[in-house]
């Protein structure tokens, strides 16, 4: 009797032990950290395919843009184990690479046949490489993005407005191709009564806290001739950052802010822009392409009422690069599973589905497909924009460089402190000090 009991117990124990590894494998879970916005929701949906194929459950940690850098840079600096995969901002690459936060992916790419040449060069440079220009990869390009514009096509189509505009400016009321044209349209709509409500011309980024106003002003500055440093002498900024052209560009952004924007938007970034446009306050809105699918589907301003155009030019033609790459966090306990996710994400068919759900794929198979340009009303503008993108510093001390520019630009444009030349001169001083502290100067 006792022997039988002992046998049963032993059998049960054995069964349990045998069960354990299998159960353990099924509990595998990956946490992916990104910003909380429309494309993130699309990624949740897309990832169901990964779970179906590998059985690995996906958990997501999304934080809105205004706290995104704060929260996740903090997480990386504290060697947190929360995130296995991180879709970090393009400018974090330098810091993440040099401080050992991300896993270097070259070896993995080679072993698994993932080729960087399959992705748009601007995205490889912007989202994956550090140092820039060297084939050393820390992320897979995940979300292509750039600053673009939306406008109220329905307002632009009104005959009385068209007539009035033509009479005043001697050209048709149409999406602007230069910033001077944009300012004229902005002035035209500013303070006008449409459908019984006062509307305004333009929505610009002015956010002070994280990166907003910088991401807005660079779209004008680049086109006026601003650059970060001498192309031949890295880190030589005097005369380049604060050149006469750059000063004119900064003054132009301020004049645009003062003449043609809605009152009260002194700390406004993506969210406020969407609110302003969706509630019918502005004729033209600057924002990231990432939001355009959602705007197109909006019940109030979507569909036929909305139109898109790429960032207008001036002397030059650039637009500010957005977008992110997906990386594996080196403190993660699930590195292999995370790498599997990257491998799955790089497949062309997954990339195609990514685009259809609202994510901006960077894969050439998607972007060069003949049907791409007509797949959405903003697709062609997106392609055009990605050909002319320019990015902010991606140095390890990126946060300090960004905060300095945020302060100087916001002080001048919004808080009316000093002149444009003074703002840019102070910026050169700030950046010089940062690079000196870093040992790069």
């Amino acid at each position: 009797m006792e022997k039988r009991v002992a046998h049963v117990v032993a059998a049960a124990a054995l069964a349990m032990i045998v069960q354990l590894p299998a159960a353990h494998a099924q509990k595998k879970q990956l946490t992916l950290c990104w910003a909380a916005w429309d494309p993130a929701n699309a990624l949740v949906e897309l990832s169901k395919d990964f779970t179906a194929k590998t059985g690995v459950q996906m958990k997501f940690e999304f934080v809105p843009w205004t706290s995104f850098a704060d929260r996740f840079l903090n997480e990386l600096n504290s060697k947190g184990k929360l995130c296995d995969l991180m879709i970090g901002d393009s400018q974090w690459i330098g810091g993440a690479a040099e401080n050992g936060h991300y896993v270097k992916l070259n070896e993995f790419f080679d072993k698994n046949g993932i080729k960087m040449s399959d992705f748009l060069p601007a995205t490889v440079l912007g989202y994956s490489e550090w140092p820039k220009g060297k084939p050393s990869y820390w992320a897979l390009p995940a979300m292509g993005d750039a600053v673009g514009w939306t406008y109220r096509k329905d307002w632009f189509s009104r005959p009385e407005l068209r007539a009035e505009f033509k009479q005043k400016y001697k050209r048709d009321l149409a999406p602007p191709r230069t910033y001077d044209e944009l300012k004229q349209i902005g002035e035209f709509f500013q303070g006008r009564m449409i459908d019984g409500k006062k509307v305004y011309g333009v929505y610009l980024f002015t956010e002070r806290g994280s990166e907003g106003i910088t991401m807005g002003v660079t779209n004008v500055l680049y086109n006026y001739g601003f650059d970060y440093s001498d192309p031949h002498k890295p880190y030589k900024m005097d005369g380049v950052v604060n050149s006469a052209d750059a000063v004119r560009g900064l003054e132009f952004y301020k004049s645009l802010y003062q003449c043609c924007t809605a009152p009260g938007l002194t700390n406004a970034y993506m969210s406020e822009g969407l609110d302003a446009f969706k509630s019918g306050q502005v004729a033209m809105q600057m924002n990231w392409f990432a939001f355009f699918p959602g705007l197109y589907k909006d019940p109030k301003v979507g569909g036929d009422r909305i139109g898109f155009f790429p960032n207008p030019g001036a002397k030059k033609h650039f637009t500010q690069l957005g977008g992110q790459g997906i990386s594996v966090v080196s403190y993660s306990a699930n590195r292999d599973a995370a790498l599997q996710y990257i491998k799955w994400f790089a497949q062309p068919d997954v990339q195609k589905k990514w685009w259809s759900l609202g994510g901006y794929s960077c894969h050439k198979a998607v972007l060069n497909d003949p049907g791409f340009k007509s797949s959405a009303p903003f697709a062609a503008d997106f392609l055009a924009s990605m050909q002319m993108v320019k990015d902010f510093w991606a140095e390890p001390s990126y946060a300090e460089l960004m905060l300095a520019m945020q302060k100087r630009v916001h002080d001048f444009v919004v808080a009316n402190k000093g002149t444009a030349k003074q703002a840019l001169d102070s910026l050169v001083a700030d950046w010089t000090r940062v690079f000196k502290d870093d040992g790069k100067l």
């Binding site: 850098a69 704060d70 840079l73 903090n74 600096n77 810091g95 401080n99 050992g100 006062k198 956010e207 002070r208 806290g209 809605a262 009152p263 009260g264 938007l265 002194t266 700390n267 609110d275 302003a276 509630s279 306050q281 946060a399 300090e400 905060l403 302060k407 916001h410 002080d411 919004v414 808080a415 009316n416 402190k417």
Partner: protein, 330 residues
């Protein structure tokens, strides 16, 4: 009987009154009264105090000392592998000569002054009226208390919504009450009005707190003083200024002390309301500190700044408490 008691048979405490004193006096005071079973007083005292002291040492004092140590180095928390070396008082010099730091202190001083003034006046007035004890005053006192139970961060956040000129309630409410058109101004948008926007929200939140303390002060004034004044035929006005205000003064000063310390450290509400903008007009000291410490990761520099802030508030509070004690002992 007393022998039984001394053996500790666990009888309930004797009723109070002369008999107790007699009993206590009858016992041999020093030796027997102190003889207790179990732990001695000394042990109990240390048992009771040490967890508190240990916790404070670990989580407040030790970090404070560490901060002082860090303030003399060039340490940066986001570069754990970089070499650390001492920089003497360099950080302190940099902090004290930084124009931005002085601007932040100015913004903080402006904020402190106006919030303390408004909250004291409004709070005391509210307390005074509540003390009239009209019907239902208890209910309305509770209603007034509600804003102070909210999280300051959440408050800062939804007031951005309220202050939005186009979609928020504030501008339209002002137009309704005063006739100034709703689209002619913007609270958090303009450089002149932004400092007032944070003062208004803070006053909205914390006036009830001040009112509560002042109410306690008003209630503590004994009735017979007023009676005496009535007998002397002092006017209401005179009574107010010679009795009510002076006797509630310690409480008012206490409220000012608490609110002063809290507002000096203010971070959450302002950070979510204006983020220090426009420009740096509402960038209070704590916001600058957070930027330096957790966004730029200049740990050494921000430690020096933190120590300077602490010493400032400590010194000011010290002076103030001494004045308060003098008022109390009058």
């Amino acid at each position: 009987m007393s022998a039984d008691g001394a053996n500790g048979k666990g009888s309930p405490p004797a009723p109070r009154g002369p008999s107790l004193v007699e009993r206590a006096a009858a016992l041999t005071p020093a030796v027997l009264a102190r003889r207790v079973r179990g732990l001695s007083d000394r042990t109990v005292a240390w048992l009771f105090i040490s967890p508190t002291i240990l916790l404070l040492l670990a989580i407040t004092i030790f970090p404070l000392i560490w901060t002082v140590k860090l303030s003399f180095t060039n340490y940066r928390a986001n570069r754990p592998n970089a070499e650390i070396h001492g920089v003497g008082i360099d950080n302190y010099v940099r902090v004290l000569t930084d124009a931005d730091v002085w601007a932040a202190m100015q913004a903080t001083a402006h904020f402190l002054f106006w919030t303390l003034l408004l909250q004291t006046v409004l709070g005391f007035a509210l307390a005074y009226f509540l003390d009239r004890r009209f019907r239902g005053h208890g209910f309305w006192a509770t209603v007034i208390l509600i804003p102070m139970m909210l999280s300051p961060a959440v408050v800062g956040n939804f007031w951005t919504f309220l202050y939005q000129p186009q979609i928020g309630l504030w501008n339209y409410a002002v137009e309704f009450v005063t006739g100034i058109p709703a689209d002619s101004f913007s609270m958090i948008g303009s450089i002149d009005l932004a400092p007032w926007s944070i003062i208004i929200v803070d006053t909205w939140m914390w006036t009830p707190y001040v009112a509560l303390i002042c109410l306690a002060g008003l209630r503590s004034i004994p009735g017979y003083i007023y009676e005496a004044a009535e007998v002397d035929r002092a006017s209401r006005w005179r009574q107010f200024w010679t009795i009510t205000v002076p006797m509630s003064l310690p409480f008012i000063m206490l409220a000012v002390l608490f609110r002063g310390i809290e507002n000096f450290k203010m971070f959450d509400m302002v950070n979510l309301l204006t983020n220090g903008g426009p420009g740096s007009t509402t960038e209070l000291a704590s916001i600058t500190l957070k930027r330096e410490a957790f966004e730029k990761w200049r740990t050494g520099y921000s430690s020096a700044f933190a120590i300077i802030l602490f010493v400032t508030v400590f010194g000011l509070a010290n002076i103030y408490v001494r004045a308060l004690n003098r008022v109390k002992s009058r």
